[in-house]
Symmetry: none
Subunit: 256 residues, 2 copies
């Protein structure tokens, strides 16, 4: 039975001391985006243009959300991470998924459990599916996060020079239905790195796994009711990335 | 085909250098109003009492929104504009509507196109209809803004002493349906001027153009689903007025 937070004994691991239930306030630019509310779809990145993340500089909406014209919604979050390198995140994605007590370090107020669908342990994450249970806002979700090669989204291989792109298909672990995509692009900055997260959820991104167009058209109206609130997704992502970035360098130094 | 922002060549006008896609943060009093959420209708200005805007001082809700007892909602926004005069706005309303590249200066993240329904050019705006395409939040809208003499809302002629009142009936450019009213009252302050914007949307303000009471009662439930979110309207208005006020004096000095 999955549960939130650490219970007595859960911290009795080599990494247990890193569990910190106190989370920082939301960064000011995330609060600004919450105030602003939904953005025009033309200032949001289209999934088909994910490779624009490789351009220098910033896109029109680095933090924000909005409904897309073809249905569904997009969420963007920028996380500044002094002292963190892209390689640390590459390691983290291969390390955290084999033990719920690691996954909980990331978002102590929302992450309940994690395991690999293949039952395996640490190592590579691309091509594997992480089965997680977590809250998005007040909504408890059981998700299957299938990490895919960035080429599947039109991006170059996930380590490009000094940058890393973590890409995944997002779906349910209880039903054979996918509901979205994510990209976390991590690129170096003068004093560490920054993460540019993008989610595309609902609408045309809903599909029955191994299904056909008819199945998709049947499931979409049902799936639309299961989608997270874009504000909750933006807050969750901003919180977990900022939180882990605070001690990822120390974690990496000890366990990588 | 209307689109957001400037594309290559769009800035090749005498005013093109004024296009700035970076917009300022929302003013603190607008953020307060967003935090507060809906207000009691009795602290919102009734459309029938629009002339109260002529009183000295401020009304009960200069920035905020709320549902009205008779249906629909009201939105208020106060914009402080150092260095700006009411006459500059009077000029702007007659100048911007004949070229989408001017209209886009006003809200670079939401304005897509503008033209006059009469096909004409610059000059007077009262009595004319501006056909615009713009986002309110994530919602793309095609609006017909029919500027009316302030007398139609019980206000004195639009230039009263040093003040200007811009008044309009708001409706669809695709259907013969109106959905609201607006007033932007601009009055001098010690260091420039301030704009007091008021919108009354939905409920009894929905009407079929040249229609009758029966037609109105049929269309109202449909129109109610097309109305913008009052928060999105408040954010949009605050953004565009603050943004333009930043360079309106320079624009006026050059083109008026």
């Amino acid at each position: 039975m999955a549960y939130l937070g650490y219970r007595p004994g859960d911290a009795d691991t080599a990494w247990g001391a890193f569990f910190d239930p106190r989370m920082a306030l939301l960064p000011a630019h995330v609060v600004d985006a919450l105030h602003h509310g939904p953005q025009a779809d033309q200032v949001l990145l289209d999934l088909a243009c994910a490779a624009d993340l490789l351009d220098h500089g910033y896109l029109a909406t680095e933090t924000g959300y909005g409904r897309l014209r073809r249905g569904g919604f997009a969420v963007s979050v920028l996380t500044d991470m002094p002292g963190v390198t892209p390689q640390m995140w590459d390691w983290w994605f291969g390390w955290h998924g084999s033990d719920a007590r690691r996954y909980k370090l990331w978002h102590p107020r929302a992450h309940a459990s994690a395991r690999w669908a293949d039952g395996g342990g640490d190592g590579q994450y691309v091509g594997r599916t992480s089965l997680v249970e977590e809250y998005l806002g007040s909504a408890y979700t059981k998700a299957a996060i299938r990490f895919v090669p960035p080429e599947e989204l039109g991006l170059p291989p996930h380590r490009l020079g000094d940058s890393v792109a973590v890409c995944a298909r997002l779906g349910s672990s209880e039903l054979p239905v996918d509901i979205g995509w994510l990209v976390h692009q991590i690129r170096p900055t003068a004093d560490g790195s920054e993460m540019r997260s993008r989610f595309w959820m609902g609408g045309p991104e809903v599909a029955v796994r191994h299904g056909n167009m008819f199945a998709n058209s049947m499931i979409r109206p049902v799936a639309a009711r299961q989608l997270p609130d874009p504000r909750d997704l933006m807050v969750h992502c901003a919180q977990e990335m900022n939180h882990l970035a605070g001690f990822l360098p120390a974690l990496y130094a000890r366990f990588a």
